[in-house]
C-alpha cells in the first residue's frame, strides 16, 4: 500500500511530533518532521512528500523563504504546501495567496480539521 506522505516543517518540535502522531493514527499516512527550513528543504527532496505543512514564523529561515525555494526547485515545485501560522495577519494571507495560491491555516488547529484540510488538498491532486 502506497502511503500518503506528509512533511511538517515547524520549529515547535512538540507540535510536529503530535501532528505526526495524530495523522499516523490513520495508517495510510506517513509523516516526516523538520524543525527548521534548511532541514525541511532537504527532506522535501529526499522524502518526496505529497503535501508539505509549513510554519511561517520560524527562526533562521522564514516559512515564506522556504516556500519560495520549494517553488523554485524543479524537484519540489509541484508539491502542494499548506501554510500554518499562529499569526493571524491579513498580509500573510494575501502574500501566501499571491505567491503560489497555497492554503493558509491558523494555529491552533485541531487534528480532525488539519487532517480534513490535508485530505482535501490530496484529493484535489488525486492522491489516494
Amino acid at each position: 500500500m502506497n502511503k500518503r506522505k506528509i512533511l511538517i516543517i515547524d520549529d515547535e518540535e512538540s507540535f510536529c511530533k503530535l501532528v505526526k502522531m495524530n495523522l499516523e493514527l490513520d495508517v495510510s499516512f506517513s509523516v516526516a518532521i523538520a524543525t527548521d527550513g534548511k532541514k525541511g528543504l532537504d527532506l522535501a527532496k529526499r522524502f518526496k512528500p505529497d503535501v508539505i505543512i509549513l510554519d511561517i514564523m520560524m527562526p533562521k529561515m522564514s516559512g515564506f523563504e522556504v516556500l519560495e525555494k520549494i517553488k523554485k526547485d524543479p524537484e519540489t515545485i509541484t508539491i502542494p504546501v499548506v501554510m500554518l501560522t499562529a499569526k493571524e495577519d491579513m498580509d500573510f494571507q494575501v502574500k501566501a495567496a499571491q505567491l503560489y495560491d497555497e492554503l493558509y491555516l491558523i494555529k491552533p488547529i485541531d487534528a480532525p480539521t488539519l487532517k480534513a484540510k490535508i485530505e482535501s488538498v490530496l484529493n484535489r491532486r488525486g492522491v489516494k
Binding site: 515547535e12 507540535f15 499562529a86 494555529k107
Partner: protein
C-alpha cells in the same frame, strides 16, 4: 452733625453692599436698598420678618436657612459663603459677615449683617472647574490611549507565543481522545474540559488580537439588515441557546449605508451574545432596524463621537433583551476594556469596548438603557449617506 435718621438714610442709600440689621430675636429691623435690590423685595416687605426668609437652604452653603438662627448672634461671622434666596426663589451666592452690637441696656442687641454678591466669582470658579475637568478628562483619555496602545502591542506579540503552545495542547488532547475512544466517563469528561479550556484560551487570544488590530475600516455600501442576519447566523452557529426567542423586525427599504461589514457584524455578534448571556433563565431578544428623525441632539456620553443634530435622519439598530439588566454600579464601567461581569466562563471584557470603538470609527453612537430585572436595550445610531440627510 449726623443724627440717627441721617445715618439710617446713608446706610440705606449709599452702602453698596447688601446690609441688614436684625434684633436679638432675629427679626429684620432694617435693610438697605442694595439688599432689597439683590433679593427682589420692595421697601417694607422685609422689615419685621424673621431673618431666615432671605437665606436659601442650599446644600452648598454652610450658613443655610435651617441653621441661620443658631449661627447668627453667636458672635462675629466673617466671610462665610452662603446663599440668599430671592423673592422668586432663585439662589444667589454671597460672602456673608455679621457682628453683634450691644446697646446701653444689655437687652438691646442688634446684629449687623452684610453680604457681598459673589455670583460673578462663582461663575468664573465654575468655568475654571469645568475647564480643569475637561483638561483632566483629556489627560485621562491620553493616558488611557497610551495604555491601550501598549496593551495592543503586547497582545499581538503574546498572541503568537500563546497560540503555539495552545496548538500543542489541542493536538495532544486530540491524540489522547483518539487513543482512548472508549475511556471511562470521568476520563472523557476530563478530555472535554481540557479541550474547552484550550478553546476558551484561544478565544481570549483572538479577542485580544481584535483589540490590537489596526483601526482601519473598509467602508462599502451595505444592506444593514443583511449584516444583522449574518451576525445572527454566526451566533447560531457558534453557541446553543435554549429558551430564548429571537424576534427580528427589519424595516424594508431602509437605505444601504457605508459601513465595514465585517467590523459591524462583529459588533452585532458581541451585542447578541451579551443579550443571550444576560438571560440564563431564558427570555426574548428583540432586534429592530429602522430610520428615525431625531427629536433631540445626541452625543456619545463618552464625548468621542460627533453630535447628531436635531432633525437629522439616522439609521437605528436596536438589540434588546428581557434579561437581568445592568446594576448602576456596573453601568459606568461597561465600556472599560477588560471589564467583565461574566466570571470565569464568560468573556474577556473586550467585546463592548471593541464594539464602541467600531461604532465610533463609523462616526456613530452606541447607547445603552437598562432596568435591573427587566432588561437592557442597546441602540446603535448610524449616519445615512449624505444625500439622504434631509438637512443637507
Amino acid at each position: 452733625m449726623l443724627d440717627v435718621k441721617d445715618i439710617k438714610d446713608s446706610l440705606n442709600k449709599f452702602v453698596i453692599d447688601p446690609l441688614m440689621v436684625i434684633d436679638g430675636r432675629k427679626n429684620i429691623c432694617m435693610v438697605n436698598e442694595a439688599l432689597r435690590y439683590l433679593v427682589g423685595y420692595k421697601e417694607g416687605e422685609l422689615v419685621g420678618k424673621k431673618v431666615e426668609v432671605i437665606f436659601a437652604d442650599s446644600e452648598k452653603s454652610i450658613l443655610k436657612k435651617s441653621n441661620v438662627e443658631k449661627l447668627i448672634g453667636t458672635g462675629t461671622i466673617l466671610n462665610i459663603e452662603s446663599y440668599y434666596q430671592t423673592k422668586d426663589g432663585r439662589e444667589i451666592p454671597v460672602l456673608f459677615s455679621s457682628s453683634v452690637m450691644h446697646g446701653q441696656d444689655d437687652s438691646d442687641t442688634w446684629i449687623v449683617c452684610t453680604a457681598r454678591d459673589i455670583s460673578e466669582r462663582k461663575k468664573v470658579e465654575e468655568e475654571l472647574r469645568a475647564a480643569y475637568e475637561q483638561i483632566k478628562e483629556a489627560q485621562d483619555q491620553l493616558v488611557q490611549a497610551e495604555k491601550l496602545n501598549a496593551i495592543g502591542l503586547l497582545a499581538s506579540g503574546v498572541a503568537h507565543e500563546v497560540k503555539n503552545p495552545l496548538g500543542i495542547i489541542i493536538q495532544g488532547i486530540n491524540y489522547l481522545q483518539a487513543k482512548f475512544p472508549d475511556s471511562k466517563e470521568d476520563i472523557s469528561n476530563t478530555f472535554s474540559m481540557m479541550m474547552e479550556s484550550a478553546n476558551r484560551a484561544n478565544r481570549i487570544v483572538n479577542t485580544l488580537l481584535d483589540f490590537a488590530k489596526a483601526k482601519k475600516l473598509e467602508l462599502k455600501l451595505e444592506d444593514i439588515n443583511a449584516v444583522l442576519e449574518g451576525a445572527l447566523e454566526l451566533v447560531k452557529a457558534n453557541i446553543k441557546f435554549e429558551k430564548i426567542n429571537i424576534d427580528i423586525d427589519k424595516k424594508k427599504n431602509i437605505p444601504h449605508i457605508f459601513v465595514d461589514k465585517n467590523r459591524l457584524e462583529q459588533v452585532f455578534v458581541n451585542l447578541i451574545m451579551n443579550a443571550i448571556q444576560a438571560m440564563s433563565e431564558g427570555g426574548k431578544i428583540f432586534i429592530r432596524s429602522y430610520e428615525k428623525i431625531l427629536s433631540e441632539p445626541k452625543q456619545s456620553i463618552y464625548g468621542r463621537s460627533d453630535y447628531f443634530k436635531t432633525g437629522e435622519k439616522v439609521l437605528v439598530i436596536e438589540i434588546a433583551d428581557t434579561g437581568e439588566g445592568i446594576p448602576p454600579e456596573v453601568f459606568r464601567k461597561l465600556f472599560n476594556p477588560f471589564f467583565t461581569t461574566k466570571g470565569l466562563h464568560g468573556g474577556s471584557g473586550i467585546g463592548l469596548y471593541v464594539s464602541r470603538n467600531i461604532i465610533d470609527m463609523h462616526k456613530g453612537l452606541i447607547e445603552i438603557q437598562s432596568a435591573e430585572g427587566k432588561g437592557t436595550k442597546v441602540s446603535i445610531f448610524l449616519r445615512l449617506p449624505k444625500e439622504r440627510r434631509p438637512d443637507e
